[in-house]
Homo-oligomer: 737 residues x 2
Amino acid sequence: MKRLYIALLAVTFIFFSYSSHAQSSVMGFSETAAKTQLDLESEFDTQIVKANLDDWMKYMSARPHHVGSPYDKKVVDFIAEKFKAWGYDVRVEKFDVLFPTPKIRLLEMTAPTKYKASLTEPAIEGDESSTQLDEALPGYNAFSIDGDVTADLVFVNYGLPADYEELERRGIDVKGKIVIAKYQGSWRGIKPKVAAEKGAIGCIMYSDPKDDGYAKGDVYPEGPYKNEYGVQRGAVMDLPYQPGDPLTPGYGATDDAKRIAIEDVTSMTKIPVLPISYHDALPLLKALKGAVAPSDWYGALPITYHIGPGPAKVHLKLEFNWDLKPAYDVIATLKGSTYPDEWVIRGNHHDAWVHGANDPISGLVAMMEEARAVSELVKKGFQPKRTMMYCAWGAEEPGLLGSTEWVETHAEELKEKAVAYINTDGTGAGFLGAGGSHTLEKFFNQITHVVEDPQLGVSVFDRRNAVELANGRPAWSHYKLGALGSGSDYSPFFQHLGIASFNMGFGGESSGGEYHTMYDSYKLYTRFKDPGFIYGGTLVKVAGRTSLRLANAEILPFEFQHFTKIVSGYLDEVIKLSSDLRKKADMKNTLVDNNVFNLVNNPKDNLKSPEAEEVVPYFNFAPLENAMRGLKRASNKFAKSSSKGLTSSKNNIAVNAILKDMERELTREHGLPKRPWYRHHIYAPGFYTGYGVKTLPGVREALEQKEFEEVKRQVVILENVLIGFTAKIEEATRLLN
Amino acid sequence: MKRLYIALLAVTFIFFSYSSHAQSSVMGFSETAAKTQLDLESEFDTQIVKANLDDWMKYMSARPHHVGSPYDKKVVDFIAEKFKAWGYDVRVEKFDVLFPTPKIRLLEMTAPTKYKASLTEPAIEGDESSTQLDEALPGYNAFSIDGDVTADLVFVNYGLPADYEELERRGIDVKGKIVIAKYQGSWRGIKPKVAAEKGAIGCIMYSDPKDDGYAKGDVYPEGPYKNEYGVQRGAVMDLPYQPGDPLTPGYGATDDAKRIAIEDVTSMTKIPVLPISYHDALPLLKALKGAVAPSDWYGALPITYHIGPGPAKVHLKLEFNWDLKPAYDVIATLKGSTYPDEWVIRGNHHDAWVHGANDPISGLVAMMEEARAVSELVKKGFQPKRTMMYCAWGAEEPGLLGSTEWVETHAEELKEKAVAYINTDGTGAGFLGAGGSHTLEKFFNQITHVVEDPQLGVSVFDRRNAVELANGRPAWSHYKLGALGSGSDYSPFFQHLGIASFNMGFGGESSGGEYHTMYDSYKLYTRFKDPGFIYGGTLVKVAGRTSLRLANAEILPFEFQHFTKIVSGYLDEVIKLSSDLRKKADMKNTLVDNNVFNLVNNPKDNLKSPEAEEVVPYFNFAPLENAMRGLKRASNKFAKSSSKGLTSSKNNIAVNAILKDMERELTREHGLPKRPWYRHHIYAPGFYTGYGVKTLPGVREALEQKEFEEVKRQVVILENVLIGFTAKIEEATRLLN
């Protein structure tokens, strides 16, 4: 990598010349403190024992351990005992949360031929855990309503709004019908949400082998990909609206909390939903007739995909136990020496859909090994400046329930004390992937340069950067954090309370189809995902440094130039989006007015020309551009001032107090339109993508959903957010000078 | 289309304002003559009887009629009698050509399990012609050599050079192996050619359902797409090297022609080749292990595609009858009144792989109806100025044998007399597709504006243009002719002799999988391809106008501004290609030098880093750019002069004499590198694409194949061609003034 690196470093120096002190500098640390910190990290590395990850995964994934199951309690006890043994102060907090489990699951085709879906995942020879059917939850979607419906079937591709536009052009209405949608293309909960909006009375989801099966690679047990029987379980509560216990929306599900009636829950689906395997989907799809699906709707089943409706008619009957179940959060604390009331929080959930070797145990064991290695440092006399907390969350799978209830319960204290939240979940082999607050991107970049890839003798940054180069893209000047959407326990910290967060893991060489199936087993993980836990060990180094540096920093390592550059990019995107949408609508309307659609279509296909659509007005984005200019100036001044270093420890404390709260400045109590629980105005999960992030969500989604008055309101709110954030930076800068 | 048309016409006027006299002007005709011509064309239209197309297709596709079959002779007699009845002077010219037919076809898997390929296309209920197995040629590739080979199987995607680079990176060598390649991605003959170059000892080709089967739509008989048993027959002689009878290369296969020995034939494959159905391919592909194929190699079979080699081992045994068979060309002539020695030649082949309802009969019946309608005009007193010839070619399917032998036999006379050649082959419903000499693009554009789409009440130009608009591309200022590669009977006229040519037909709403299978039947055609022959009738109008206008023009309607613009674009492409290849090689070498490939690859996959490749030098393209500037100036002057009109009929004759021979100026006797038969230096079929065109082929292919000394030689040749062409234009311009 020599030749390339010369060019790369040159670029880095141009942009970041004021701070690149190579390996010996650590953001937030004086030169002397950095030395001590780097020694500490070397010592930390030597403590890591990869065999622990293996042993603990073997134990914790030995039996199904979903929310409320006997083995989940055993896992909780195991974790708590470990942390106690390592000297942590351990509490187990219990929240009783609504967790529906299936009572009746019936799916049958009643016409034109009969077929009863098996809805089972057979045992795999050589993988003992797949035989434990008694304790396992079968394939289902948590928070589907009960239902008993019979209707003609319609294939709706991924079941997203654009797919229904295609149906409309073909004159196909799903009203009163049952839809079958492929998994993927969005978070699963979007599919029944949109189907219900369109009038469907039931929704079936299946994993098509093109996206998740033999077209990806060899299927289990020959390879890690989804075999014909694998079923992806998963929650379908309206997560982009609000996660957490549906009976205690916005507040903790403590013993004495007031619970609303199930009938009043708004985040449940409106129609019954069931996930099935491609083995069960094939006979249904094969029986469909009517229009042939557009070519980009095709999966990899050996059929011509038809849309229907019918003649396939299906009967879907679902009943659930609507019980409260205990969600246990294990909270292990190591008190800080200097700032005990500043918390660095590290978390990973422990509940699984079945055995969950990958999801969540692979991340959990890395976190536990990190905590154990830290405890070894403590034995040698180390004490972090700030309080370090290791949290193993319960009930993440049905909708981030354990973390959300904990955050809602301790919201005021967290807003006061939390410095940052570092999340992991499943992890594997390959390249470092990380998302998070861009105020910490520069900080995190340093870590990616000092941790080595366990196979190739280069830094994890270099390895990740090689992906860019190999794809003909320019070299990364620094490690680029993704923007966080949702799908794991950072959401309540980050998007609800405004606590700077990370989510990280390794991947890219550990793909498979085990996600939320019976086959996410120890056997599969150790054969295919990260044999020898070599990348698991590297994750301990990356996440451990993130925790330890945040815990020990003299000045919290937030800065604002990276953030400003990123958000400025988001603003450019949004402005371009408005112009693209305008051009697209104008172009489409011109084509409609001029009959072009009728001229290109085959008259015998009877495709309707789309209708002319609402034109997109021009918006005043100047307030945002002006606010961005102010932010940029303030960020540059802060960088200049902070590069001088501090002298007075009194000012240190005052600056840290401001920095700690900066992410909160990006939130507003009133939250986002239609979903007040989501308070962050820079990052949110997409209302129609689910896990996928929408940045500057207020403005962006109002544009996408063509709510033009809302665009104007959100511009004002975002301007206000940026101006407030800028003022805080200026305040910190004054203290630095 | 109103609003859009205002904008479109504005554009048209800017570029072509000197000639747009709307409907009443006809290129090559004075105002008075144009009026007569347009009246003639109206009368021509009224003569067209679509039922004739139906009746004749029913008769000619009733039985298999491949080269040398009893029914092909009946078809020839039928055509000849029709033309005679219509008053044409008819000759049937017979050439005895090498046409191998299968004696033994055996394909079996011998390990790890046994499977014997069925190699049959079962009868389809309701399609009587599919039961005629006795007379039909089964699935085979003509001009495969005999062979009896057994070896491990390797899946090679489409079997193109880039696919072998992927294999090489995986350390997979096909030497001594049998390869299985998907059809498509190139002309079929390329696959065994490349496989043999790489050392394979046998080649199997199959139609994957992703490209040609259920993933395209409902399969026959439910729909027109390829069912699991359909097998694409076809020639695999080295067509991009030279078409025609292999025993008489470059000269006519007349009775007294000297025939070379079969052993000396160079255009035969080097290894045995057999085409199979996806039904027969599935067990073989399923049995392959080894590396999983790259995701873009995947087809739509319900398997994980592996590359091998093995453990699937196959035995392929092929033996052919190496017989001479008669190829009959029916030549029907209508003598010209004013210029009997100037020939406008119209052609379509009559031989089929089996019944050939679509290929070639759908085009043939349109040509016959055109000839019949012209004969009705003759009955009413019309006589064309130039001689019109209607030709029904034999033995096109095995490699353009009938047309090539005829052209080679009559080469000197054709170079003297041929004005243009107009080809059709299969045709269907939808949009007009046409390729040809760009010196006739402006001429053809006028025709596309006056012939109406038979369903939508707009011109065929407007309908084709709607495709551009609907795809967000700018409106066409004029009908754009494609560049001709190969694959039908225009090749000997166009690329061997330099006779200005067209190839045209309708398509886009008549896709299917019947091509070269047992199922290209009357039944399939009339159900799915062009029910009621409504687009067949429209093709008569378009091709008929092309013939009639060329036959009657006062000044031949060639011009050079369109040509110049197009060729100038080709030159830009070639210059960009050299720069892209240079950048790509430099980029790749940088990545190789810096170990990037090893950093992005999963170490456990054992993917080799590609090797550094030869750098691409800078070339002197200035001679071509200077020549283009000269051509542009000359073309503009010619346009200016010709727009004034002519006065002296003596000059008319002199100008026509030059124009008639213009396309010949683009050829050179020495032909292209490695393939002297191909003499055209602007258009050729690609050496590694087959049917696909390569424009400026000498320079472009030398670049692509990294033969850098050849690039320099070809630049000189092309410069010379362009300068010679320019000089002829200047000569014509002088005569006009």
